[in-house]
Structures are given as C-alpha cells and as structure tokens.
C-alpha cells in the first residue's frame, strides 16, 4: 500500500466510527458529568467528521452547512448542560451522577 495513495471513503467512516465508539464508551464508564459531556462532544465531532467527508466525496456543500448547524446546537447544548450541572452542584454539593437519583421536586 503506497503511502501517497488517496484515502478511500471507508477510512473516514472507520476513523469516525472509532472516535464515536471511544466517546460512547467514555460516556458509559465515567461518572463525572463534565467528562460525560466532553464525551458527548467527542461523539458529535465524530459525526461532523463523517458529514464533512461525505460532503467532499459526494461533492455536495449541504454536508458542510449541516456541520455548521450541529456546531450551533452543540454550543447551545453545552451552555444549558453546564448551567444545569452548576445548578445541581449548588443544591446538592456534589455532581456524582449516581447521586442524582431523584426526580422528586
């Protein structure tokens, strides 16, 4: 396999899949909600990478615009999520996800 061979589309799918899997496993095995959030960002980023790769290999600009929207929604999600974590820390003085067992008001 020549080092200067062009990259086939399947390589991008695999790279994106590996990054997504790492994020998914990280989300499951960590109990610090901030790190779980970062793992969500990792998964979103893996999805973005696949969008950009598909846009390039199909020659369609819509993929890049979609990534733009994913970034906007991710920014909104992080702002609200971190505010919720701060609010929970204020009331419970811990952010251990295993302690957050009550939906009772």
């Amino acid at each position: 396999m020549a080092w200067n061979a062009p990259v086939p589309f399947a390589s991008w799918v695999m790279l994106s899949g590996v990054l997504f899997s790492i994020g998914a496993v990280g989300f499951l095995i960590r109990k610090d909600p901030i790190i779980m959030f970062m793992c969500i960002e990792l998964m979103l980023n893996a999805g973005n990478l696949l969008f950009i790769a598909a846009a390039r290999y199909l020659g369609i600009m819509a993929g890049q615009v979609f990534v733009f929207f994913v970034m906007a929604v991710a920014a909104a999600e992080v702002a609200v999520g971190l505010a919720i974590i701060v609010a929970i820390f204020r009331t419970k003085s811990t952010i251990d996800v295993d302690e957050m067992s009550g939906m009772r008001g």
């Binding site: 499951l28 390039r56 733009f68 609200v80 251990d96």
Partner: protein
Amino acid sequence: MTLLPFIALSVVAIAFALLLVLNRNAVHGALCLVVNFAAVAVFFLMLGAEFIAVVQVAVYAGAIMVLFLFVLMLLNIQGQEGGLEQKPRSQILIAAVLGILLLAEIGVLAPLAAGLGGAQAAAVPADFGSPRLVGLTLFRDHLLAFEIAAFILLAAMMGAVVLAKRRLA
C-alpha cells in the same frame, strides 16, 4: 489527501480521545479534547472544508472548551474525581462489550457504507468549502434553518442564565 498524513493524524486524534476517557483529571481531559478537536480541524482542511475548519477551532476548541474549563474551575471539585475504579465492575464490562460491538458493527458496515466504500473524492470546484460558497448555501438554501438556529442559541443563552443564576433569598 493522501494516506500518510491521514494515518498520522488519526493516531493523534484517537490517542487523545482515549486519553480523555482514561484520564483521572478532568482539566487534563479537557486539554486532551482540545488536541483532538485541533486534529479534527486539520482533517476538515484535508477534506476541503476551510471555513468549517476555522469555525471548529474558534467555536469548539476555543469557546466551548473555555466554557468547560470555566465550569471545572468554578466548581473546583476535589477528592471526588470520577476514577474508573469507582464505577461498578459490571458497568465497565457492559460498556466495553457495547463499545466493541459498536466498533465491530462500524468496521463491517464501513466498507459497505452506501456503496461508497472504495469511492474516491468527487471532482469539486476550487472554491469548495470557501466561506463564500458556505455562505451562499447557508443563506440561499437553508435560510429558515439558520433563523431557527439563531432562536435555539437565544433560548439556550436565556436558559443558561436563568438556570445558573443565584437564587435571591
């Protein structure tokens, strides 16, 4: 877009993603994620998405990670770092099995993905991914979605302020 830089950067991106997951310290994890985002930004450049690559660095590696670091330092949690060993063994085992399944599924599906497996990059105009073309596509074909995204950001901003505000006694 050749194989050597792709593999070299893939190693960096995957290694720092793993460091984020396995790291004990949340601040170190955030810095690992910044490196991962930077590597992905270079991938975007390789794929001809110059504008998105710059947005990735400015918004993700810049704004979002600064927000994470702010909250980490604001809460300043000590002595309850979520190390791996604090999770029940069974949960880690299940997570590992699910992760391997997910990986295997993607590994099998990737060569078949939409019949594009071995596809080579399409011929694209020289300004593919330029700010001009992104802007044209965004404001000509996706104007409504753009406005909705603006409202989502506004609602999220107000929600974050309301949620994180100190209650006035």
